[in-house]
């Protein structure tokens, strides 16, 4: 080797020095948010980036296929689709936001999770694309679109409808001598005793990461706290969480777990607990309608459960003070980056995603309910899905997931506190004390 390798240090040095300079120069400049142009482009071309939380092998292929189809129809468009898991998504999207690196289209839960992006000017106003008066908006279930409404404007495309239900095995109920689903919490407790006597774990419960318990709390809060108070408290600017109903909800959860659920829930993943339910060891599990597919033969469930399962809402206590017709759930949706340079293309792709054909495909492939009108009328849909839709239409409103509806600090306090409650280390009063503290901090931050 004859060439002068001794020059390398100097070259490297120049490289590093440039980096250093860039470090000084590139500071805090943030581009002012301007509304992107959402009108349909004359010539559909360019690159769109999109991030979802649907990395699970059963969900991912659907989104991949929609993207592929769109690219096929519009050969000059390249969509960079990235799908991450449910839990990592919460971290990831914040990191991308901080990094000023949000994709053109990104997933969001309804509630404060979405509102945070909206308040920070990171989500584009989509009223002109999917508002109630638009062609697309008329195709969508109003309750679903409303979940992504903020100060009268529409910011998100709802892609599915999701509700939380106690799914149960018909065989287990029969063996325990239970003829019909319980109508009150008290009846549920009695049924649990019967199921235990018949050799079942009444409710399979895995609470690793804490959110499964929060879904119970979401529903029980809605049952026990008057709707107005709930609205006020879930808003970070006015939240106080002093209503006695909150403590009552946690007491009911504690009683429910003691009487019905397996122990050691904090050490078990929700999915691991689900294996017990599907495997026939447990009689019930509190799951989202989005998960119903796993109970069907198509979803890989054994015939013992696939041929004989149904669902009911977590029943309210007979003295519930809140709205007993509210249902825990919400649509998931997609937001568009307010700083996107491909607003028209993004809007066009969302309309494509919400086309009747793609919505029907989603219902068929994933077993999800779609807010798109007429999408459920497809061949081969399992009967429980239609029943779910009927039940949802009876719900007075959606009680949005507690971990996404409130301020991140309040959600964290709830998450940690309820984990302690499940593990037997916290009392309901302990939990609410720390939630109240977090709410005060959140108020201070928001105002």
């Amino acid at each position: 080797m004859r060439f002068n390798l001794g020059k390398l240090p100097a070259t490297a040095l120049v490289g590093v020095a440039t980096l250093g300079l860039a470090a000084c120069g590139g500071g805090d400049s943030t581009a002012p948010a301007s509304a992107p142009d959402l009108s349909a482009p004359a010539d559909k071309s360019g690159t769109l980036s999109m991030v979802t939380k649907f990395a699970d092998p059963q969900y991912a292929p659907y989104f991949e296929s929609v993207v592929a189809e769109y690219e096929e129809e519009n050969p000059k468009v390249d969509i960079k689709l990235e799908q991450v898991g449910d839990q990592p998504y919460k971290d990831k999207i914040r990191v991308l936001a901080t990094a000023n690196d949000l994709p053109d289209i990104y997933f969001s839960w309804a509630g404060d999770f979405a509102n945070k992006f909206i308040r920070a000017g990171l989500a584009a106003d989509l009223t002109s694309v999917l508002g109630p008066d638009t062609e697309l908006g008329k195709q969508l279930a109003p309750a679903a679109t409303k979940a992504f409404e903020y100060e009268g404007k529409n910011y998100g495309l709802p892609i599915n409808l999701d509700g939380k239900y106690l799914a149960y095995s018909g065989a287990a109920f029969e063996k325990a001598g239970i003829s019909q689903p319980p109508a009150t919490l008290e009846e549920l407790f009695e049924d649990c005793d019967k199921l235990k006597a018949a050799g079942y774990t009444p409710i399979a419960f895995g609470n690793q990461f804490g959110w499964p318990a929060l879904h119970y709390v979401t529903q029980l809060n809605a049952y026990n706290v008057p709707a107005d108070t709930l609205d006020k408290d879930y808003n970070p600017a006015t939240g106080e969480f002093t209503d006695p109903g909150y403590v009552k909800a946690l007491e009911q959860l504690k009683a429910l777990l003691d009487r019905c659920a397996n122990p050691d829930a904090n050490g078990l993943a929700h999915e691991a607990a689900q294996a017990n339910f599907i495997g026939g060891k447990a009689a019930m599990q509190y799951i989202e309608s989005l998960e119903f597919q796993v109970l069907t033969a198509d979803g890989g469930a054994p015939p013992t459960i696939a041929e004989d399962w149904s669902f009911f809402r977590l029943p309210p206590a007979s003295d519930a003070a809140g709205d007993t017709q509210a249902l825990t759930g919400a649509p998931d949706g997609f937001l568009v980056n307010a700083k996107t340079e491909q607003g028209g293309l993004a809007a066009d792709f969302l309309a494509f995603l919400a086309s009747k054909q793609n919505a029907q495909q989603m219902v068929q492939d994933l077993g999800w309910l779609s807010p798109v009108e007429g999408s459920t009328k497809v061949e081969g849909v399992y009967p429980q899905l239609t029943q779910t839709l009927q039940d949802m239409s009876k719900a007075s409103e959606f009680a949005i997931w507690l971990d996404t509806v409130t301020h991140a600090d309040v959600a964290s306090a709830y998450l940690a506190g309820v984990e302690g409650l499940v593990g037997g280390d916290n009392t309901p009063e302990d939990v609410m004390a720390s939630v109240q503290e977090a709410a005060a901090k959140a108020q201070e931050q928001t105002n």
């Binding site: 860039a22 990395a55 898991g85």
Partner: protein
């Protein structure tokens, strides 16, 4: 002293364990105590072997099982060698993460070793102005931990547009390991006789030529050790990889495995298979390069 260290590590000790006094001279009580003592000692040594080997064996074997076998019979052997689990793990992401880890590890091993060797050369064999100051700055880096720099690095990498790139990891792995690696190589270089350089200079060799042709080849043993330790570090690094790579397609194994675990919560055998694949390269590298590993470690720590 330094170079002798590793020889003593693996050199056959001059004698076996010291002989004990003949047992018959002792009272029965002492005899019993001796036996109990021996049992305890061997119990500890053997127990630790089991405690280390068993989980690893369980990991590898569970990778061949079905879900039912993992749940129903965790202690048992797999009913068949289901290589397809390993295949699935590979296809479900391990391949991708493995490739990323290889890229980041190989490049950062090269950059770290080279940059450190340059620095060590400048520090030990050239008439460097402010030599002591430079040494202090470089070794001072040993006292600064990655976690402490997390928040500012996040901003820095964003403004340099390095966030979410391989370069973010390569540069950080290099920067944070230059102090240790320089320290290691410097200790070795400083013991090479200066006559080598002087003789080469007489023959008309430039500084560069002396470095590349004479000093670097002579440092080969410590360079290998340094490279191995850097590989171990880069392959297993977690904090930076977690914080500064957001794109699943660029994740390295330690972070990718975590993502896989959360994705495949119910497909236990595949996760076990993925773990086994991820652990294998460094264990094999360690078994092959044991002597070099130990030399690097003991010199890094024992000087």
């Amino acid at each position: 002293m330094t170079k002798l260290v590793y020889e003593t590590v693996d050199a056959e000790a001059p004698a076996g364990p010291p002989d004990r006094a003949p047992l018959r001279q002792r009272s029965p009580l002492v005899l019993v105590l001796t036996v109990i003592g021996k049992l305890l000692v061997w119990g500890l040594l053997a127990g630790l072997v089991v405690a280390i080997i068993y989980p690893l064996l369980w990991m590898v074997l569970s990778g061949f099982k079905t879900n039912q076998e993992v749940f129903g019979d965790p202690f048992g052997l797999p009913g068949a060698l289901r290589w397809e689990n390993y295949q699935t793990a590979w296809d479900q992401g391990v391949f991708k993460y493995f490739g990323n880890s290889v890229i980041v590890t190989v490049v950062s091993v090269l950059t770290t070793t080279l940059v450190s060797a340059w620095a060590a050369y400048g520090l030990t064999r050239l008439d460097l102005p402010l030599n002591q100051g430079v040494l202090l700055v470089i070794l001072g880096g040993l006292m600064l931990a990655p976690t402490v720099a997390l928040v500012p690095l996040f901003r820095l990498l964003q403004s340099l547009e390095l966030f979410n790139t391989y370069w973010a990891l390569i540069i950080l792995y290099t920067a944070f390991r230059v102090p240790f690696t320089t320290f290691l190589i410097r200790a070795y270089m400083i013991d090479l006789p200066m006559e080598l350089d002087e003789a080469a200079k007489m023959d008309g060799a430039s500084t560069q030529q002396i470095f590349w042709r004479i000093i670097l080849p002579l440092c080969r043993p410590i360079l290998v050790s340094a490279a191995l330790l850097q590989a171990l570090f880069a392959w297993n690094e977690f904090v930076f990889a977690l914080s500064f790579i957001s794109d699943d397609a660029r994740k390295t194994l330690p972070v990718g495995l975590l993502a896989m675990q959360s994705r495949l919560t119910t497909d236990w055998p595949v996760v076990f298979a993925a773990l086994s694949i991820a652990a294998a390269p460094m264990i094999i590298l360690f078994l092959v390069g044991q002597r070099q590993f130990l030399r690097g470690l003991t010199e890094g720590v024992g000087k």
